[in-house]
Symmetry: C2
Amino acid sequence: MAQHLVTFHLDDPALGAHAPLHPVHVPTGTLLTEAAHTAGVEIVQPCGGQGRCGRCAIHVTKGEVRRRSMLRLTAEDVAAGYALACQSVVEGDVSVTVPPQEKIERRLTTDRVVAEVEAPIGYDARSLQTVQRVSLLLTPPSMDDQTDDWSRLVIALRQHVNVEQVDVSLPLLRRLGSILRDSEWNATAILDTHHALRTTLLDLRPVEPPLFGLAIDIGTTTVSCWLVDLISGKVAAQAAEYNGQIARGEDVISRIIYASKNGSSAEMQALVIATINSLIAAACEKAKVDPQDIFKATIAGNSTMMHLLLDIPAASIRLAPFVTAINHVPPLKAIDLGLKINPEAAIDCLPGVASYVGADITAGVLSSGMGDAEQLTLFMDVGTNGEIALGNRDWLVTCACSAGPAFEGAGVVNGMRATRGAIEEVWINGETLEPTYRVIGNAKPRGICGSGLIALLSEMFLTGLLDKGGNLNSSLMIEEEDDLHFASPEKSASVGVSVRGKTRRVRQGEHGLEYVVAWANETWHGKDIVITYVDVDNLLRAKAAIYAGYTVLAERVGVPLESVERFLIGGAFGKYINVEKAVQIGLLPDLPWEQFQFLGNTSVKGAYLALLNRNERERITQIASRMTYIELSADNSFYEAFTSALFLPHTDLTKFPTVAQALEKN
Amino acid sequence: MAQHLVTFHLDDPALGAHAPLHPVHVPTGTLLTEAAHTAGVEIVQPCGGQGRCGRCAIHVTKGEVRRRSMLRLTAEDVAAGYALACQSVVEGDVSVTVPPQEKIERRLTTDRVVAEVEAPIGYDARSLQTVQRVSLLLTPPSMDDQTDDWSRLVIALRQHVNVEQVDVSLPLLRRLGSILRDSEWNATAILDTHHALRTTLLDLRPVEPPLFGLAIDIGTTTVSCWLVDLISGKVAAQAAEYNGQIARGEDVISRIIYASKNGSSAEMQALVIATINSLIAAACEKAKVDPQDIFKATIAGNSTMMHLLLDIPAASIRLAPFVTAINHVPPLKAIDLGLKINPEAAIDCLPGVASYVGADITAGVLSSGMGDAEQLTLFMDVGTNGEIALGNRDWLVTCACSAGPAFEGAGVVNGMRATRGAIEEVWINGETLEPTYRVIGNAKPRGICGSGLIALLSEMFLTGLLDKGGNLNSSLMIEEEDDLHFASPEKSASVGVSVRGKTRRVRQGEHGLEYVVAWANETWHGKDIVITYVDVDNLLRAKAAIYAGYTVLAERVGVPLESVERFLIGGAFGKYINVEKAVQIGLLPDLPWEQFQFLGNTSVKGAYLALLNRNERERITQIASRMTYIELSADNSFYEAFTSALFLPHTDLTKFPTVAQALEKN
């Protein structure tokens, strides 16, 4: 096959403009992303290489590539030589300039993110913890007692632990003799007693070590890791970081598509393992803990994250009839996954229920306590996806709705995650239609995050900028003749003057009507921050999916939504939203505010409980078995409910009495 | 540290004399064996590098080395530049010529070695075999049944197998989904059901495979491997080969010493694994079996071999109080050891009893049937070591005696293993004192193997060449004045004439008196084959250790040796010896010949039974628990018995009435 020369230039100011890389030879038909990988450049592919997001655009400066898709590129872009790296194949020698790749900034660790975690009240390591240490005083071997080392150890263990069989790995067996002799037959055994009949020897130490464990939540966006003292139950350190897979897809579907490509599955596993290992290193550094003293890790995460962690093919998750390869993962060891803790450490992947209701939800339901509650409770985890559980101690049903990551900023022109520079709260003056906003980190705004988008939609709706159907009110746009009064649009904006109830902020953009939230001179990048008609549509679809999700779920079990006594919201997303505004756009039902409760990352909290307490761990298995999964995509009523919810707040305003009241006031 | 240049020349006729190798740089103090390893030459070290055997001698042709030991080298050797590679360190630039290294010839596969093995009568794979295959007809997933692949499989399995928990490895889990879909949900599960509560999924196949297993005996000298059809129970192929560790020590002590050196433990493991893998490949080739269809391997071997196989430190085996690291090895998988069969195949290392009574003996006792017999039975396995078990279905005792490998040819100037060119039987004419002999493979003799040595000792004793104490009768030597009658010694020998009952074959050699078994002109290498005073002494010590072993064992349990009803002899060594002659030298007790029975390789036979039959496997565990180990080195009566047995046949001739009779006749 013909070979072509591809030269990449990095448009990185730090390297000097257009620093050229060593050219690579690739065969005809090679994707530019692959050629870049060969050249040592990783081009971010937020949609997993599907050609949908447009964020892998590069600039072909010499030669030509064949563009299989040009979605998200304008005719001018293409004429200027831009192409999507994930959709363009090499058919001749080319030079390519790679724009600066999106840098993911570290999540701000404000007091809102890292909270002090209290050890569960009454935690008793001796009775509840599966990892136990046992100090042994062995009789040394002699000519009168030539028992082998292993049997000698097992006999001594049986004096402390009621166990039939003791499992041990070959690598540990190899170290056994020298540890016993180094400790002068007075060693400490670290045991995993999670299985009633089979105890596993995790380690043997000459000196009694502390016992640590990890509670890990692998989110599609963020991975969280708590380092836990298994004796006191206290959290010694917390660390969180973006999931290293993000550059290979921002949502689970994109990740599955990327991972299904030849060889990419192992790459995806390596990326998330690297993320976890860096969190472990950071947490251990912070708390001055030796990673070898970590003997257990309890992992939660959605089903796709769990499959990718284990490098188990996830393709069946996204294809009808949407089944996982496995929901209850057998016990593993750290060494099986390459986690940099004690190699024998027990890895406990919490059980999931279905393709889109994973261990993050079973862990969340556990930490919410709804499975033991008398009150009818609705639990909702809105992260990159939306999962819902409804029930109480007698019954539990669950469903998932593909809300998509719109509220995390994807599919929204100026959307972004809740990091420094994100507009997180917006107020719009009903008279002037001028916004004021709050930015995370008190920085110049770079975009709008989920809570900002909810506030924006709500404010635009209540001020009449948006109608019930989500359409921007074009009559508020300043026409040519109105414009004569002003010297410059910036001036008009900066002084906050509108023309007879009209505003220059409503305008015709490339994608139709848009509203300008921040003018270029206020922003970090010197470009206007807007919300477009398309953005609003995407956000409405996301909120409608979530609303339809819990209403249909309630309907299916014959429970009116109004009878829900507690409405619990988990997930990082849920932590910052304004309930009033979320109700106003019809994302949350119109219930008394005191019934809503934000629980934060319920997944890692559930993992933490399961890590500490064998009864809680058993309860998660019961929750996974008890929850009846309802497949919404197979349900006609879901589509109807979805369509009805594609309005602000809903086609049926009687479902939102407080919103109707607010509208009347305006 | 100072570096020196070492140049090795191989004295290999095939390469042209003294082919020089690329010189290597090594620091001061490097052993020549290590320098050779660096240069890519492996110098055989039959004693494991202890400097005891003298077989690693090399020729220093330029420069000087420091000789830490010169054992087994004559003053002339040293003057001529010879040195022991394992005992000589580099202190300056040197050139070294390496003589041709001992080539281990493949064991002759005559009818005596490979025997047809009958499958056990009444073998029923369904009830007795732990590896089972189950054909499954699964309902494909649908929108109404979104059960995950793994649960779907487990539910289907439970319809066939009564099992609580099914274990599965991560690599197999990764292949699960595609196998189920490729087979259109009609796959065959291969299960390991050895544990009552925990079934392990070994493989899943779209098409039902045959089930094969391996019975393996890792002998110190020879590794034997039987490829077995687990359904019919038939042996499909057999293969045997020298243990690849031989060049690193010929006996277990030498191997342990070698393995205890830095990093050599992994090398020892790699050597025996390579041997086993080559046997598996050969057996599979012979029987046209796909190694992926081998799902189980049952392994027997002495405790040192088992430790070295698993790369578990064996040092404590040779140091008082002589304990192993482990006797009951937990279940392993092929992939843990790098065996080239199905990676999930169950590896079952049979249990041992003590440092010197290993799984080869428990397997041997099983295959001998003595554990179920009414008759008092003595079982003896003479290989590189000598192990003895005594008892019946009510009780079992066992001991080991460090006989050493003299009967395998080590420590005997012209000793060799039972391969082509070995003198295996000798007769000496009482009148002329001229020997006749039989050579394995009808070749020119190269040395004398175990059975030949026994015959030689016996004949020399009965013809008066040796006295009771093992001394060569110097009065039979032809003195100077006698010599005048002959033109040349060779002529005298070839015509077989002796001088007045004297013989030129008895002569003064370098190591004292010796007897010439074959003259140079008859032999393969053109050198005389002799047995020396030192050789006789080594052989007497070996036979005395064995005799003392079983007599003391019998004494210790208060059973007269004469009451033994069956005397079973296992091990390759035992297969070829002449009972009459073995009794005459006092190696075997003077019992009626019909009580002796040669069982061949009882270790591999026991492994074969355990491989096929779960009850037999359980019985081996019971045998290992039942056998009371008696440590002879802690026993004063052993030393007395040993000293008394250092005679031909024994100090107390009343213990050997038939020998006394024979001596009277002569």
